[in-house]
Amino acid sequence: MEDRYARQQLFSGIGKEGQKHIREKSVLIIGAGALGGANAEMLVRAGVRKVTIVDRDYVDASNLHRQQLYTEQDAKDNIPKAIAAEQRLRAVNTDTEIKGIAMDAKADNVESLLEDVDLIVDGSDNYEIRFIINDLSQKHHIPWIMGACAGSNGMSYTFLPGETPCLQCVLPSMPDVGMSCETSGIIAPAVQITASIQTTEALKLLAGRWNDLRKKLLLFDVWQGQPLSINMFHAKKADCPSCGEQRDYPSLRYSFETKLEVLCGRDTVQIRPSHKKEYDFSSLEGVLEKHGKVRRNPYVLTCLLHDYRLAVFQDGRVLVHGTNEVEKAKTIYHQLLS
């Protein structure tokens, strides 16, 4: 399909030269939800050489109003988003090498993916992973484009190591009460505008047009139409532990304990075992069938208990839906799975 990028390279900001650069670049997208999916589709259509997309969740019916890569069938089958995204993106552009990875993005496993990555695009939904992306960006000198949205609000900023302030400079303490899609809802246009701003910045970076980058943090409310651009120059801190002279990348300190995490506003607790486990789903099905109805695909096994629903992933992670209480989730986990 010789002409497929003709209109894109006709645009003076890209040009033939810019398109050539885009075709050589590799992008890592963290999160395959609304922002990750929208960015991924645009970047794959734009002809990026390689797109890797990572996500820990599976497709749910409540995603479908805004997460453009997924279908009703994906939700019915509980397909992990990374897998469903890979299938859809492959159908969109065979020029691009596409890799979907179903995993819980953490410092160690994301770092192992960075070898040939030119740019990281944030499609995540929490600050814990954004602080990890930020430290990895500084450590490996890879730019990243933050995006966040909730309600009718969106924001984006392009972090350039060695040039702009980093996330740690901007937010010295990690927010624990961010405005999320679960607490404030979300409308698809807020997603699409945020993702469009991110992809625009990505195209500038990938095409080698660094001088055209926005350099300001952009915030907007798509419902009320109240945009705000903030000059971030004053945010840079010389003693920043992530980008300052004496840096120790505080978000990259690994934890090897079993980790329990309440997924905010979702009535769900995630349990991540201390060591990678690989479940044999057919024998696990035999065990869990005694407790409730089991459904499975090659990636996720779900079991409908009386008051809860368990989702067990191949990598050993378990989501306990129906509770926000860590202790309760732990009890169920130990009773049924360990």
Partner: protein, 77 residues
């Protein structure tokens, strides 16, 4: 007189987009504390601030005629 703008969830919590207050000369962190106490805003310490569209640190001073915007973290995606 300074003008205070509220964004995202803060706007919902406080019920308006902006207000004017006689607080010229105070630091950003003191203004945050005052707003938290007088308007029952529990998360002001995690809120980013910008004075006249420039990022502001907690010890920056808000001067007469300035517009200060408070932007709470948006986390969804």
């Amino acid at each position: 007189m300074i003008k205070v703008l509220f964004f995202a969830r803060l706007q919902e919590e406080i019920g308006k987009e902006s207000m004017e207050v006689e607080k010229a000369g105070v630091s950003v962190s003191d203004l945050k504390k005052w707003l938290a106490a007088t308007h029952h805003l529990p998360h002001m310490t995690q809120t980013m601030a910008a004075i006249n569209e420039n990022y502001a640190n907690d010890d920056d001073i808000v001067n007469e005629g300035d517009t200060i915007a408070f932007i709470p973290p948006v986390s969804g995606g």
